[in-house]
Symmetry: C5
Subunit: 323 residues, 5 copies
Amino acid sequence: MIVDCALYRDGKRTEHAGHWRDLRAEAVRGGGFVWIGMHEPGPEEIREVAEVFGLHPLAVEDAVQAHQRPKLERYEDTVFLVLKTLWYVDAEDAVETGEIAMFVGDDFVVTVRHGQGNELHTARVELESSRKVLSHGPGGVLYAVIDRVVDEYLDVVDELEVDVDEIEESVFSTERTNDSTRIYVLKRELAEVRRAVLPLREPVSRLASGTVPSVPDDATPFFRDVADHLARAAETVDSLDSLLSTAFDAHLAQISVQQNDDMRKISAGAAIIVVPTLIAGIYGMNFDHMPELGWSYGYPFALLLMAAVAGGLWAWFKKSGWL
Amino acid sequence: MIVDCALYRDGKRTEHAGHWRDLRAEAVRGGGFVWIGMHEPGPEEIREVAEVFGLHPLAVEDAVQAHQRPKLERYEDTVFLVLKTLWYVDAEDAVETGEIAMFVGDDFVVTVRHGQGNELHTARVELESSRKVLSHGPGGVLYAVIDRVVDEYLDVVDELEVDVDEIEESVFSTERTNDSTRIYVLKRELAEVRRAVLPLREPVSRLASGTVPSVPDDATPFFRDVADHLARAAETVDSLDSLLSTAFDAHLAQISVQQNDDMRKISAGAAIIVVPTLIAGIYGMNFDHMPELGWSYGYPFALLLMAAVAGGLWAWFKKSGWL
Amino acid sequence: MIVDCALYRDGKRTEHAGHWRDLRAEAVRGGGFVWIGMHEPGPEEIREVAEVFGLHPLAVEDAVQAHQRPKLERYEDTVFLVLKTLWYVDAEDAVETGEIAMFVGDDFVVTVRHGQGNELHTARVELESSRKVLSHGPGGVLYAVIDRVVDEYLDVVDELEVDVDEIEESVFSTERTNDSTRIYVLKRELAEVRRAVLPLREPVSRLASGTVPSVPDDATPFFRDVADHLARAAETVDSLDSLLSTAFDAHLAQISVQQNDDMRKISAGAAIIVVPTLIAGIYGMNFDHMPELGWSYGYPFALLLMAAVAGGLWAWFKKSGWL
Amino acid sequence: MIVDCALYRDGKRTEHAGHWRDLRAEAVRGGGFVWIGMHEPGPEEIREVAEVFGLHPLAVEDAVQAHQRPKLERYEDTVFLVLKTLWYVDAEDAVETGEIAMFVGDDFVVTVRHGQGNELHTARVELESSRKVLSHGPGGVLYAVIDRVVDEYLDVVDELEVDVDEIEESVFSTERTNDSTRIYVLKRELAEVRRAVLPLREPVSRLASGTVPSVPDDATPFFRDVADHLARAAETVDSLDSLLSTAFDAHLAQISVQQNDDMRKISAGAAIIVVPTLIAGIYGMNFDHMPELGWSYGYPFALLLMAAVAGGLWAWFKKSGWL
Amino acid sequence: MIVDCALYRDGKRTEHAGHWRDLRAEAVRGGGFVWIGMHEPGPEEIREVAEVFGLHPLAVEDAVQAHQRPKLERYEDTVFLVLKTLWYVDAEDAVETGEIAMFVGDDFVVTVRHGQGNELHTARVELESSRKVLSHGPGGVLYAVIDRVVDEYLDVVDELEVDVDEIEESVFSTERTNDSTRIYVLKRELAEVRRAVLPLREPVSRLASGTVPSVPDDATPFFRDVADHLARAAETVDSLDSLLSTAFDAHLAQISVQQNDDMRKISAGAAIIVVPTLIAGIYGMNFDHMPELGWSYGYPFALLLMAAVAGGLWAWFKKSGWL
């Protein structure tokens, strides 16, 4: 589905409305460039676009199929870029992924988006309000899209940082929590983020080095800025991942310590019952001569003795930290 | 055994049938190239082929012996490629491996296949239906074979992804499962896949860089595509492997937690028996003056007391999560 | 807020006082350079400065927002450097972080500091007292600031080394300590330090290689010295981190050993109670012919027997290290 | 001790017998080259050889002392190579190591062997039967020796693979085995192999690149073949090592699971004894009115009750998998 | 303190005695070079030397302060090298560290040593006896010192290898040893060694490449030899470190296995006491009709029964490996 389509000239959106073919013709004739935004296009739609703009079949296949690795390919005059998009779904504490494929030529940009999140509409609106970026032409669009996607990476990473903080608190709380499942899930999500971020670094650093056509030289500082954001995202992910590993180890230690505490608690409890049992056993012996048996208060004495021993043990274990 | 043999000219299979020597002579005379497909050839067969096409003895030895590492070697005019093939056997949840060795010259391709899986027949059929790829000559065959093999890598990796998901579920289920064996087996299979995928990356990237003879320049995008698939396979394998490690750690934590739970359950059970035993011991004492002993309902009272204490403990342990 | 501002000429601070614009004009006219020091400037202040010195908008944005990665960027004539500052808060055994952004041109230096620690005043005073460094111009200021920041890294690392020593002692003491929390916190702080140190190495090595403008050639040994200090900080952090990992493993082993000791202690204690209980049970049997029961000293004999058995067990367990 | 010495000319061993000095003179005069094979030579012997062939003192020292790292050094006209030899001693399931040092000049090869295994006699015999390799001159001898040594690496690695399979079986068997010692020993042996294999890769790849004198260009495919075998050995060793790590983890998990099983078994056994004890305690109470005590069959009834309870518990635990 | 000072000319020590200033003047006038050896010099001493030889202030500061990283710096005509020295103190099984800083110019060498071990006197004596090395001038001294220091690294590593062997034996002995402390200490010492060895590799390889002034070309084989020794030290340290990690894991496994053994021993012991207690309980029941109670030998029979049951259990547990 074609979501939006416009002709940009001299750093602003023109008022031409109409079919994208006409806009394209207009761009070729009078300068400027066309940006066609598609969302999960059908085979017919994409075929038509590919034909008009001369897109390479392999790239088109990749753009349609989704589930690609982030990459930047050059096919003659066209630059083909695949990006993973990420967004954080609060309701499920989960990271969702989508994909954007971009074809960037001298006088056109075609974006193909998969998945629900990261709609490009906001990126387009922001771009249209920034004449400076827009004046860089298709390269400016490239920047605007990558910048927005990478900013969302940073948002997602921030959310995951919060999750890690929560897990940390839970691990070191005195409550008995089974954090291994949450740690596992979070590690899995970090791996997801890493799969989006890491392979994108090489394309962005190529864009920042100014060796990619369609990217004017004075646009490279912008891509260096994006590269820097990507590096920050990657470093934070690595650092969270290693924190989680440490937290997991601490969790294991915690389990062991708790088991030890339990064992001591149980043993103390057992002692408090077993010692009075021994006393009862003693007064259950059948010796002919056992003076206590004949005492009037022998029975209460025995019960008191048991209670005293049990209480003494209790106090002692309490003091030595076993209970 | 020679499985198939044909002369390709102008992007299509010619109708010549006959001995491969005649086809070869025909290719030399009139252009085009011959593709000879062999399956676990005997020493005599391969010797004959090697002689005619001038294959290097070391390469021939490697092709016959199997159990080679994936590699790309150049011997004067001939390119020699070794590939590991992988396929997933559902019945055993296991990954099987085979091997394909290819000799690619200017006017011939010789493929030598070992193992049952990944027959090249389908690759040949597909190739024959794609005039575009076929028109790249021997380089096109090289692409068709590698592409098919790498696609099977991705299939195998997908299957292993499913296996990892199953293990994950099993680890985090409340059932008592001994997952370490399965995790071990899966890690072993991932290592197998890695052994096929990783060493192939360097040859494919050389093919994609256009520095290998027999690969025309306009074929490099195809090899870049394959390189990309390989990278995806490698990344997924790494990511699965590290997930499995995390899952294994979680499994260890689970075992510890279960042991702790068991210990508490056992202790609670013991307390429920031991406390009534103490009561029985008390009423088994031989004091002369124990009023309860003379009560008409002393015995039922004692039994009730035991039952009440046991029940009370049971309820208490239940409430505090020990039972 | 502009904290300090001065014009430096011929290796010393001039006596000009007045608005920074005047100083700048003076520097342009008569040689020398201006150093403007700002602390968490407002948007208006920074905008004004940026305008006068022609600072790149992206750099200004980074300088204002803080939370950047350490980096060195060149924007035409201006060098832009971001540094993380670290200081150790004794009261909390914690590492705090701040940030310094520097713009270095031919005739000016603008420093923008965030956070409480590492005020640059001392760096400025030291610099002013060293004519030699100051005579290197803006590059000398660059060196003075980086040198001071990196020296503080080394101080922080020294403090962390002390913390690791304490943890080590605690882990291997015979006391029952739960060190996993402290180890975790310390690992987190090491990660913080690493995040400041590692990304700074590349900028500093670029400065030391003499390829950055504003850094005169004879200043490179100074930057090589800083690079060396950075390398030392990085190596120490890595080494501490791996020591902590080993210490954590040892802590786990310690927990296991303690659990084992506890279990044996508990079992020995149980045996000391259970064996007398068996004796009491024996003399509680109702056989008609049990000679001991008729003895005058049967009861004391039984009690003594119990005490002797308990004492014997106690001695035996003591000797074999179970108690 | 000089073990063998011969003059090779035109790809075959000449019939000259006599002192090596004469053979050398003959080679200088009439072409060809001399191969002197020494086994743990005395200082006098090696001094003489070094003098005649002009070997560098540092290299000679290394050749005599053994315990060197594998390396390839060039001293003017002479190439000096050190190799570790490995062989597997079945009787002890152990890997033994030796060393070979080679001096390769234009018209001579001197080999110095340490340790018992990998005698070079077979390499020499094989070489003498292969005119093609021999015709490469001293470079051919270099190849023959390295090839044989590396082939033995592969044999050793195969044996270790079998050992790993055995350990794997043992770890996952239901028997209680203490595999940690065996895993440790095997890891140690893998480290030994790695120490022989890894540092040899660089020398062999230099030989394969054709930049070493004494190695004719058309011999490089042979060294590439050796490099490939080395890579295979290194990969297998890495893969075995990481399998062993995983197996060790699984072993730890197994121990935990067994401990858990034991604990449950023990608890079940305890319950089967403790519950009848409670019953005995009840009928040992001294209440005046306990109807069962007066029954004629009270005693057998009580015994039966105990047996029934014990049996019931036994069946229940059996069913729930605790026994 | 200046420890030794001499003028070397034509490969031997001259007989000139006198103040170092005179020797220096003599060297400048008549050729040769001066080697001044200092041990923890005071600020005045070093200042004087620095002035005369024109040493760079930053280098002098590093030489005086000690606690530097190993490094090689060039300051105009002077080469500045920092080395860590290591020695093994048998009495404490500990590795001690010191430091040597060297200034090497065309006609002088200044060595500054910190710490007690590795006195350079022996290096000087050896050097003076080797005319060949000495004839390389200041570069020869550089070699002699580095060679001696690196040889001590190998000695230290050998001692640590012995320590690792001892730990290994202790871990796998059947005795109950708490090896984690020793493993930790040894790992810490390996880290110390690594900190000395690893950063030295780069300087030595630069010296071996012949790109450092003051090192004549024909001296490079000597530095290559040192580089090789360094590589061996580094490899052994890595290998010991990873062996220790494996040993530690095995130690953990051993603890678990021992805990399991203890638990089974304890349970068996408990059973041996608890079953007779049950029997005593049975004969303590108060049924009117219990034939055994009336038997003349009922009491001995009961005792025998208990002993028999206990003995039977003992034998059974013994046989099944629980005791």
